[in-house]
Symmetry: C2
Subunit: 385 residues, 2 copies
């Protein structure tokens, strides 16, 4: 059901020949309106790929007619020629749709520092435009943006009054892409203006995709786009829409988490008792990025000392002798020292919850990560990614 679940959208996914594997590698999503309101959030990396630089400009106008996405090459660190390639791709889409390039967003994912084979990509755009559909197109598009993703990630939700939100994603997280990048396109047939979409998207991704941190590495290409066709004519309340969008983003986040490269555990770091939500996120990220802890969890070792070491590197408000840590519900650390018997912790399930109580206030946040495994090392050392 993907991005074509809402009315007013068509999509396609085709083989342009960018991937050596011969798998689908080019996706097109078109908003047939009547509205073209759109919003986007992008990587915070200062080294931004050409398609990010282009699409940030497009989204500033508040309108997106179509999104073209390719796997098989990130078009990052490719200089002015790379930016021209992105521009040419947008022009090609615009020509196929009889429009101007200024409302065509472009996303790319794959190896950094390599030019895209435009002689294959541009014909792929025509092929995708010819195959645009509401039926299978959404699934084909979700398939075409996969890189090391073992499955396509899609989700949809139905809101009150009959509007829908649909989405597709690839990668391993907004701030922690393993094979280059997290790309996500979300569509809705609700009727909301660009400013409302922007607020809703930032609120939703801020507590979901933004808090998935598989290996602490930030991509040059991360992009999340939200397109509204307004085809139902329904204008939901902003709070209601934001809640539904957040729920959908959480669904996609979960799918990305469990499919992260080489991971054998899906770890939720729940920080509670924080003086502020920012403190909770800061502490959660520090724990999520601690290689020693990630190795320990892989070894099913409830090594809470690693959690305290990680929290201790942050500027969050806490006193070391008031920290409490639970692993899968067992409070193995109380008051900054030894708590309940660590042998009671069962770390065999794939899902692991580490709860950190900062004992400093009423705020909380959850950050998701994975364990660090030999498989992760292998995937990222055995060949260029």
């Amino acid at each position: 059901m993907s991005v074509t679940a809402p009315q007013g959208f068509r999509a396609a996914g085709v083989v342009a020949g960018l991937k050596d594997s011969g798998a689908r590698d080019l996706a097109l999503v078109v908003n047939d309106g009547p509205s073209r309101a759109a919003a986007g959030v992008f990587t915070a990396n200062r080294v931004k790929a050409a398609p990010v630089l282009w699409t940030e400009q497009v989204v500033q106008g508040g309108r997106v007619h179509a999104v073209v996405l390719n796997s098989g090459g990130a078009n990052a660190c490719t200089g002015a020629p790379g930016f021209q390639d992105t521009h040419a791709t947008a022009e090609k889409v615009a020509a196929a749709l009889g429009d101007s390039a200024g409302e065509v967003a472009v996303c790319s994912t794959g190896l950094i520092g390599v030019r895209l084979p435009m002689d294959r990509l541009l014909p792929g755009v025509d092929a995708a435009a010819a195959e645009l559909s509401r039926g299978d197109g959404g699934l084909a598009a979700a398939d075409a943006i996969r890189t090391t993703d073992t499955v396509a990630k899609i989700a949809f939700r139905q809101g009150e009054g009959g509007y829908r939100i649909g989405g597709m994603a690839k990668g391993a997280g907004m701030l922690a892409p393993s094979l280059a990048t997290m790309l996500c396109v979300i569509t809705t047939d609700a009727d909301l203006d660009a400013a409302a979409l922007d607020r809703a998207l930032r609120a939703a991704t801020g507590v979901t995709l933004d808090r998935l941190d598989s290996d602490g590495c930030m991509s040059t290409n991360d992009t999340v786009l939200l397109l509204a066709s307004g085809a139902t004519g329904v204008t939901p309340g902003e709070a209601e829409f934001t809640a539904l969008l957040t729920d959908l983003c959480q669904d996609l986040t979960r799918q990305l988490l469990v499919d992260a490269e080489g991971a054998s555990k899906a770890i939720a770091i729940e920080v509670v008792g924080a003086a502020s939500e920012a403190d909770a996120v800061t502490a959660g990220r520090a724990v999520a990025r601690n290689n020693l802890l990630k190795c320990a969890i892989h070894g099913e070792d409830p090594n809470w000392g690693r959690v305290l070491s990680a929290v201790g590197t942050t500027d969050a408000v806490f006193e070391p002798d008031q920290l409490n840590v639970a692993v899968n519900g067992v409070w193995v650390c109380r008051g900054g020292a030894v708590g309940d018997d660590r042998d009671k912790v069962d770390l065999r399930p794939r899902d692991v919850t580490i709860t950190v109580d900062l004992s400093a206030g009423p705020h909380s946040a959850t950050v998701w990560t994975t364990d660090l495994t030999a498989a992760y090392v292998h995937e990222n050392s055995a060949y260029s990614t």
Copy 2:
């Protein structure tokens, strides 16, 4: 030659029975004077082990008579009882030396969150005091502080006028200990006061041990101590002493780097063309902590896109299209885009140099790290560390 190379120092390393392996696990270093001037630098982690809290107080007095170090237990996150254990250890050393505990420093390394077996540790102190010597004692002490270190790390230097500096270390780096902790004791028979020692130690460690970052994880126990006996009566110029001390610290840093857990590559990240030294360090650390790059280097893949992605996460002064990156001397990235042929890069040697030119100023800094390997994952997941 270790810590007993300078005159005025005796040392010992004994089996107290803290390690299951039956290897040496308790070291004692005694400064026989006439001076007891001393300085120390400690982990920046806010979760500090009991011996760090104790020794910070001791060093504030500017005088250290003896240092007792144990492997086999970090005495971190052990609450008030753990602090009492550290205090009791210092008292035991003081009693053996006929002194007060206020000038006895304590260092511990090993598993976090476990009390030390004081019934074995305290008799070990007596045994060490009985074995203090200038000859073999320095080597035995360096051996006793090893955890996963495959070799003892020692160094010494001779200054003009005949004074010496000697040192021993264990672990995998000030800010990046793999098995818990970096401990380092440095001795000199030069005659310098505590303030001069403090300035020299901060300057020397700031550009050496502080810039070794094997896995980005910060210990609860890191401690570097500098003790001066003044036994030669030589008072070197501060700049000369600092240079010699820096050279010795660099030697120990190198030894720690090549012995880091599970590493197959010793990687120097040289950042040049920075607007400030702080910018160079910031950019270097970001590169050193990038798991994807560390995996790529393990796979002997000159994946310079990972370098740019890492630099892009920092607030250092640079323009993305003016970044240059060389791997082992080949400028594979020029002007933020593809540079020389990456096939020219030879990554087979153990030593790897990644040069990052920020094109933003005259400053530079080097940060050292290791590759990320399946062996690292195994060492830190197969058993509790």
